[in-house]
Every structure is written in C-alpha cells, then in structure tokens.
C-alpha cells in the first residue's frame, strides 16, 4: 500500500519535473529568441548606436586662405599663434603649476583665476589654454623648463595677420569670432575659436577662404577620454584670393591721403575696371581686432568724426559737385540740345523765373563753349542746358555712366548713392519735380549722391570709348578667375565722348583750367580730369554779404573737395577719383592728390602685367614677387 502510494507520488513527481523541465526549455528558447532579435533583426540599428557611442568625430579647423595682391604680396596671412596649455590631471596641483609658470612667462592673478575657473568646469584630461599670442622667446622659455612643469604643454595655432595694417584694412577687412546670428549649416563655425570674415574681402569671400574642415574620428570611452584615433581626414586650406590691387600703389595712396584729415580715393583701369588701389583715410589696424580689441579703442574708432571704420571709397556718399558736369554735358550732346559749337555768355548768374542761380565765379566767365565751360567749370553753361534737357535725361545718362546704383562690387559695404529723377521725387516726397532742382542737379548738387567708386567708374566709361566697365577687385579665387571683363558698349557717340575728353583735358592742361596747377608736366604722363567742390552747407545770403568764405567755417561744414582724373591723356589707362572730405576746393585739395596718384599709377603701371589665368600656366602664382621699395622704379 505504502509502496503503491510511493509509486503514485513518484509518477506525480516525474510528471511535474517534466513540466518544470519543459518550462525551463521554453524560457531558454525565449532567451535565445530575444538574443536573435537583438543581434540579428535589430543588429544593424544597434551597431550604429554602438558606433555613435564610441566614436567622437572631431573637426579639425582648416587654415584660412591667404589674400594677396596682384603680384602675390600678402595682405592677409596666418601667423603662428604660440599658446601655453595645461592639462590639470597631469599636474601635481594645478595652482602650484600655474605659480611656477608665472615665474617663466607673464601671468597675472586674473589669468590664473581664469584658468582655475575653466579647469573646474571641464574634464581634467582636457587641456586648458593658459596664454596665447606668446612670443617665440616666451615659448622657448617654457619649452626649456617643460620637464619641471608636468602637465604644461605648448602648441601652435593660427592667428590672422594683416601685414599692411591700415593701408589695406578697408579692402581686406578683418575676421572675428562667430556671432550667434552668423551660424549657418557649416558646422565648422561652431568650433571654439573659429573666426569668420566680418568686413571687406574677408567677409565677401568668407566661404571660399574658410576651406574645408578635416575630420578626426576619435574613439572615446564613456567619460569622453580619447583612446585612439580611428580615421583622419586632413583639412583643406581655404582658397587663395588674388586681388587686382597693387600693394605698392595702395600703400602709396594711403600715405598720400594721410596728408588730409579725411579722404578716400580709387585708382582703376579704364579699360578693364580692375581696381588697383582703393583707399580710405583715416583707417584702422585690423590686427587689433584679431587679437581682441579693447572697449575703449573700439569706442574711440566708432566716435571718430572721420569714420575710420568706414570704407569711404565705396560707402562714402557725396554730392559729386562739378564732376557731374560731364554727365549733364553728355546728356545734352546725346539729346542734341547742344553741339560742339554751342556757346553762351555767362554773366555770373542764371535766372529762372524769379530765382537766381549763381555761378561759382562772381562776374561770370563771359562767352563759354562746352570745352571751356568744363575747363573753367562754368556753372551757368550747365544751368542753361539743364532746363532744356530735363532731369530725367540727365538721370538716365548718370545711370548709364554708373552713378546712382550699386555696381556689383565685391565688397558688401558698397553703397548705391542716389540719382534723383521725377519719379523718385514723387515716390520719396510725393511732390512734383521743380525746374530749379534740375538746375541744382546739373552741377551735381541737391539730392545727388555718389561714391568715389562710382565717380571713378563714370570717368572710365567716359574715357574708354564708352564701354560699361564695372569695378572689380578679385582677380582669382583659388584658380578660378574673377570677373568676365568683356564689357558691353554704351551706345554713345564717339565724337561726343571726344568732346568731353577734350574738355577734361583742358581742365588740367590749359592755364584757365581749374586744375592747371596740378597738371603733370611730363607730357607722356599728362592727365585730364575734372574738379568738383560739393557744398555741404549752403552759404546764406547774409554770410555771402558778410564776406564769409567757406574756409572760415568749422571743418564739418566745409565743402568736400573732389577730383576725377585719367592718364595718359592720349590713351587713357588709369582713372583716379579722389574725395577729400571738407577739404575745401576740388582744385586745391583733391586735384594735387589725384595728380600724385596718377603719376604713381603710371610709374608702377600694374596694368601691363595683367592677371593671368593660373590654369593657362605662367599664372600669377608663378610671377615673381615685387620687392618692396620699388616705388618710383
């Protein structure tokens, strides 16, 4: 009986043991299934996640491309920036190490505090910058003592340098830290210490200059310590930008402008539009910006009434004054209102209805024709024809000659100026255009605003046979040439253009010409041109009666002095526009500068060594660099 029961119980046990065994087998199957699900079905997904876990892709900042002049003279380069770094975990006490270091290089209490703060926030195996911009001597001193300074290291970064400082500051611009608003798809911009172009060519060609970031794939462990390098793609240096500028001419022009209080100038090629020099004075040293400018210095630059930060040659907008007279004259000629034989008497004033408009010369010029009106800058002559032409035809001619709108110049700082017409006035003020305003406009006063760059472009178009050249300053971006320089021809009568040129010749080269004292006596280099004096403040009747002259006014109320010129006269190549802010008369303040610049331009003659396409061999990169000190050679 007992045995039976025992057997019975045994059977039950065996059955139940079998159930347990089956359960175990089932669970093992579940586990194996789950494993297969994770490793096979989901394997790819988890592999990607694992790689993401493990690999830290580090971007390696590329070197910024160089900016050079037409002969390869560097305008913007990367200098070595020597830095001292410290890795906290490798030191025997960070503070002690810094104290030791302060005996070797200059390190004040503030610096030490800053390093300690930064070190606290970051992982102890990450290097912390102690000082940058160290001299070679300082870095050598640290290197010599490096064995006594565990955890201290040195490295070489790059810092932008502008060897020509003030002279090229407005063209080249400068680089600075990336603002939040400037961050685009390029992840490179998020690199610590990355600099992007803020103004000038540095800004305009920033994307080309940046280059391509390298990628270093680092294997990292869970706390982010780099274990080893897996892959490394070298960074690509940014494109080299070759400018059309001639460094020597640029430097010379800057020095020449520095005899004034505030001035700007443009020297360009009448045939191609290539800009050889583009100057604005006063200027600033862009190197101050790359190494961190002080707030006081920044304030000082901002508040300077001569606007050193502004590139006045392209962003300064001035009434063109008498330099505009060629536009009025050509509009009159093209409209058939005057001819080469048209002559009028200038009594010193012109009456329109009850309004009297004065010529600059009291008593008048007597009988003047087109050439002599230009040569002596007779206002009355232009007053007379302006009424007949009307503002719209003047404005149309101004636009055709490149005034009153942006010329598509590479630098984004370029301003459009303003060329008013009837529509403009209606749109702007809701008023009808007054005939008197046409008279004022005919001599480049009133609403008209032009930039020196536009005035130079206008002069180019007048003297090159009527080709619509536009100014350009970048010859090559990498190996790609800048602009297509086959310019369309303006439909202008060559005889009319010759007549204008003749007038401009007389301005400088006959005794009665307003710029006779600035003539170039060497006939091979002789220049033609036109003076301009732009009124800033109207001289009131009372002041005129009191005999107050413009020179007696405060600086900021004095006239702007302008001059546009070209040389040589028989085969114009170089065009120059000069504006001296509040400089007084164009003939006394601007023409002498233009004379010097045109002499230098012809001596340097940068146009005879044109930029060549590097792809065609014998490119600019292979041209011998001109040695400094060749001025006047």
């Amino acid at each position: 009986m007992a045995m039976e029961k025992e057997n019975d119980r045994g059977k039950s046990f065996t059955r139940r043991a079998f159930i347990i065994g089956a359960g175990q087998g089932l669970l093992l199957g579940v586990l194996a299934g789950r494993l297969a699900w994770l490793q096979v079905a989901q394997g790819t997904r988890y592999k990607t996640l694992a790689e993401k876990n493990r690999i830290n892709v580090k971007m390696v900042a590329p070197s910024r491309g160089e900016i050079v002049d037409r002969f390869g003279v560097p305008f913007a380069v990367n200098n070595q920036n020597f830095r001292v770094l410290i890795i906290p975990e490798q030191t025997d006490g960070l503070e002690d190490s810094l104290k030791k270091l302060s005996k070797i290089i200059e390190l004040n209490q503030k610096d030490i505090k800053h390093v300690l703060q930064v070190a606290k926030k970051s992982a102890s195996f990450l290097p912390v910058e102690v000082r940058d911009n160290l001299s070679w001597e300082d870095i050598s001193k640290v290197e010599v003592n490096i064995t006594d300074l565990p955890g201290v290291g040195t490295d070489v970064g790059e810092i932008r340098n502008y060897p020509f400082k003030e002279a090229t500051a407005h063209i080249v611009g400068y680089v600075g830290a990336v603002n939040e608003s400037e961050i685009d798809q390029d992840k490179m911009l998020t690199l610590p210490g990355f600099r992007i172009g803020k103004t000038g060519i540095e800004k305009a060609y920033d994307k080309n200059l940046r280059g391509e970031a390298g990628r270093a794939e680092m294997e990292v462990n869970v706390i982010g310590r780099e274990v080893r390098e897996l892959k490394n793609k070298k960074s690509m240096t940014g494109k080299r930008i070759v400018l059309t500028i001639d460094a020597e001419l640029q430097l010379y022009a800057q020095q020449r402008l520095s005899t004034t209080r505030s001035a700007s100038s443009v020297i360009m090629d009448a045939r191609t539009g290539a800009v050889y020099a583009l100057n604005s004075y006063p200027s600033f040293d862009p190197n101050e910006f790359t190494s961190g400018i002080s707030a006081e210095r920044w304030e000082e630059l901002l508040n300077d009434p001569a606007f050193p930060l502004t590139n006045k040659s392209i962003a300064g907008q001035y009434p063109p004054g008498s330099t505009f007279k060629m536009v009025t004259a050509l509009a009159g000629l093209e409209a058939g209102i005057i001819t080469s034989r048209s002559a009028f008497n200038c009594p010193g004033h012109y009456d329109l209805g009850s309004d009297r408009f004065h010529c600059w010369k009291r008593g008048g010029h007597g009988i003047v024709n087109l050439e002599s009106a230009l040569a002596q800058s007779c206002d009355t002559y232009f007053y007379k024809i302006a009424t007949d032409i009307g503002i719209d035809r003047i404005a149309d001619m101004a636009h055709r000659l490149g005034l009153g709108e942006r010329l598509g110049f590479e630098l984004s700082e370029e301003k459009p100026g303003l060329m008013p017409d009837k529509d403009w006035k209606r749109g702007r003020f809701g008023q009808k255009w007054q005939p008197g305003e046409t008279i004022v406009a005919s001599i480049g006063q009133g609403y008209i605003l032009t930039t020196p760059l536009q005035l130079a472009t206008m002069t180019c178009r007048l003297v090159n046979g009527g080709y619509a050249v536009k100014p350009w300053v970048t010859g090559f971006v990498g190996t790609n040439s800048g602009l297509d320089t086959s310019w369309p021809k303006l439909e202008l009568n060559q005889a009319h253009l010759d007549l204008i040129k003749k007038g401009m010749y007389q301005v400088v080269n006959i005794k009665k010409g307003t710029a006779y004292s600035s003539r170039i006596e060497d006939s091979i280099m002789a220049m033609g041109g036109k003076t301009g004096t732009a009124q800033v403040k109207r001289i009131t009747k009372q002041e005129r009666a009191a005999g107050i002259r413009n020179e007696d006014l405060a600086w900021q109320f004095r006239h702007h002095a302008l001059f546009v010129g070209y040389a040589p006269v028989d085969n114009p190549r170089y065009v120059c526009a000069v504006v001296v802010e509040h400089g007084g008369g164009g003939s006394t303040a601007a023409a002498p500068i233009a004379k010097d610049l045109l002499i230098m331009a012809q001596k340097r003659d940068p146009g005879t060594e044109p930029l060549k396409d590097p792809n065609e061999g014998n490119g600019i990169e292979e041209l011998p660099r001109r040695k400094p000190g060749m001025i006047g050679g």
């Binding site: 347990i20 065994g21 494993l35 994770l38 490793q39 096979v40 989901q42 997904r45």
Partner: protein, 376 residues
C-alpha cells in the same frame, strides 16, 4: 544479502568519485570557463583584476563541491533544519549589523569574504523544504494545515530579505519555494488560488516598494524615458548586445564594454560582454550549456530513489535556472534590472560559492541516490 558489502562500497571515496555525474561537472567547468574568458576580456585582456581571482575562487568552490558531494546525504538530511535556522539567524544579523552597501544591507564582512547570507538562504530553503516534504503523503499535500509550516519556511527568509531590501532575491526564494511545493505534489487548484491572491496583492506590494525599485520597474517599461539615469543600463546593454551581431566583434574586441559604456560589465552584465564579443553563436552556446546543466540536474533528480534527494536536486536546479533566466532576461531588457548575477560567469564570490555548493548537493544526490532515509 550483499547489502553490508555494498554499503561498505558505497561509503568509500573511490565509489563516490566514480558515482559523481562527471558530465555535469564538465558542464560546470565549461560554464566557469566562459566566465574566465569574459572576465579576462572585461579586464582589457588581463587576468587582473577579475579573471585570476575568479579562477582561484572557482577552484576553491570546486573542492567545496566535491566535499559536499561526498558527505553522506543522511547528514544533509539531518542538518537541513539547523542549516536553515543558521541561515535565518545570519539574515537577522545582516539586518542588525550588516554593512550598508548599494543602499541595501546584504552582506557580513567576515574579513576574508563578504558573506551574503541571502545567497546561502536560497539553498537552505530548498534543503528545508525537501526535508519537510520528504515523507509527505498525498493527503498531507492536500492538507492546508500541513502546507502552512512550509509556507512559513518560505516566507520567513523572504520577509527578512525584503527588509534588506532585496526584491530580486526575495522573489527568487518565493519562486523556488513555490516550485518545491508544486514538485512535492500540492494540488494544482491551490496554485490557481494563490496566483489570484498574489495578483490582487500586487498593488499593495507596489506601495511597499522602495522608490528605486519602483523606478526600476518603470524604467523597464520604458527605458528610453531616462537614457542617462536608470534606463542607461538597459539601453547600453542592448546596444552592446545588438551590435555584436551573429558572429560577434571577436574576443577582446567588444568596444562597448571595453570603453566602459557598459556598466557593471564584470558582474551583472557579463552576459552582454560575452554576447557582444561572441555574438549570437556565443550567446546561444552559453544558453545551451545552461540548458544541459538543467537537463542533468533534472535527470539526477529523477534517478534519485528518495524524495528528499529528488526534491533537493530539482529544487537546486530550479534555483540555478532562476539565476540564469533572471540575469539574462534582465540584460536583454525583458524584465526590470533587479541586480542578479549570472552564477559561475559573473565576478563575485558568494554567488559562485553558493552555486557550487548547490551543485555539490545535486551531485550528492547522484552519489547517494539509493540511500535509505528515515521516514517520519
């Protein structure tokens, strides 16, 4: 009869050695070797700090296994209750003066070893229940009054372990205990009733859970909700496992574990490391070895001619299988992270010793399968 001679033979060491189940021992060694190789890898291709110490412990444990197996099973039968009460006493000691570690009091520092009484208790409960049910009749098993002391035998240590608090271990003791009761022949209806009560009591249990335990359950349900907190373990473990693929990344080439993305890689998450480096093939191989251990454990249990041995061998096999299931299911994200090691593979002294001793007891059943045990 030749009984006398046979008894003599049966007590000799040679007899006992030949009557060990050597396949079972080989499987044990294979499983331990998986552990050594995984720990070697976890140490970055070094015997230190884990593999060498694990090896020493295993060798000590193997000797303990043999000794336990040689001891006459009647001794284990006699000592079943004393061992149980010693275990219970040690749990109380832990509760009173145990050291605080991992937010739970779990071990006593004996100087040379961190003794974790709850690990030993798992064996003791099986032993005590095997003894209690040894002579039980069918009527006994249907009697509520007979089953009540068995329930107390289970719940007394469970409540002490819960106090530590160690949810994983207490659940394992309960499960092993229930399976013992099931094997001993309690009516199926009781389990259905008990299951119903447990389901009803679950919300109350939730209320008594520690925050970190609740967090683990919640995180388990949605690990991505807390990728850097509690969910981190599961996510990283799944990434490491999944990235292993079929063939694995190769020995010593498990990137996730080597780079420390995998937490506790040498202890609870050792299976992940193994499966990352050896892939599905290695993982299934490990499961296969475990399955074979279960199989031989059950076989020994079934061949045993006395209820005590059968119940003990199967109970201990179940105990081991619970470790395996809980650990591997945990690292694969099938169940919450409960902090259970994979015995013989995970780095850790107590769990390895406990399992080797329990394997010794299973072997003891094999050696003494025909022993005459008193019927009370």
């Amino acid at each position: 009869m030749a009984n006398g001679i046979k008894l003599q033979d049966e007590s000799s060491i040679i007899y006992k050695l030949t009557h060990l189940n050597w396949t079972f021992i080989v499987l044990t060694v294979v499983m331990a070797c998986i552990g050594f190789s995984a720990l070697y890898s976890a140490g970055g291709g070094n015997m230190d700090p884990w593999a060498s110490r694990q090896l020493t412990r295993f060798l000590i444990g193997l000797v303990a296994l043999l000794i336990v197996a040689m001891v006459d099973i009647r001794w284990w039968y006699k000592l079943a209750y004393p061992i149980y009460f010693i275990g219970l006493f040690l749990l109380v000691i832990v509760e009173i003066m145990g050291q605080v570690g991992m937010g739970a009091q779990r071990w006593i520092n004996l100087g040379f070893i961190q003794l974790q009484p709850s690990e030993l208790m798992k064996i003791a409960v099986v032993l005590a229940l095997a003894k209690y049910f040894h002579a039980a009749t069918r009527d006994d098993m249907a009697s509520f009054r007979f089953l009540l002391p068995a329930a107390i035998l289970i719940l007394a240590p469970v409540s002490l372990v819960l106090l530590q608090p160690d949810l994983g271990t207490s659940l394992m003791i309960i499960m092993a205990g229930i399976i013992m009761v099931f094997l001993a022949g309690a009516p199926i209806l009781y389990f259905i009733i008990a299951g119903g009560i447990a389901a009803a009591a679950a919300p109350i249990g939730w209320m008594f859970m520690h925050d970190y335990q609740k967090q683990r359950v919640l995180t388990f349900l949605n690990p991505e909700s807390d990728p850097l907190g509690s969910g981190y373990h599961i996510i990283q473990s799944k990434i490491a496992l999944g990235s292993g693929g079929v063939e694995g990344k190769g020995f010593l080439d498990g990137t996730q574990s080597r780079l420390n993305f995998l937490p506790e890689k040498q202890t609870d998450f050792i299976f992940t490391l193994w499966a990352e480096e050896w892939g599905l093939i290695g993982g299934v191989f490990l499961l296969l070895i475990a399955g074979l251990i279960f199989y031989y454990g059950i076989r020994i249990s079934l061949k045993c001619r006395h209820a005590f041995g059968s119940l003990m061998a199967l109970g201990l096999t179940v105990n081991y299988s619970l470790y395996v299931f809980i650990n591997i299911a945990m690292v694969m994200g099938l169940i919450p992270v409960v902090g259970a090691p994979l015995p013989l593979v995970s780095y850790g002294g107590t769990s390895m010793l406990a399992i080797l001793i329990s394997f010794g007891l299973i072997q003891c059943c094999n050696v003494h399968r025909d022993a005459k045990l008193p019927r009370m």
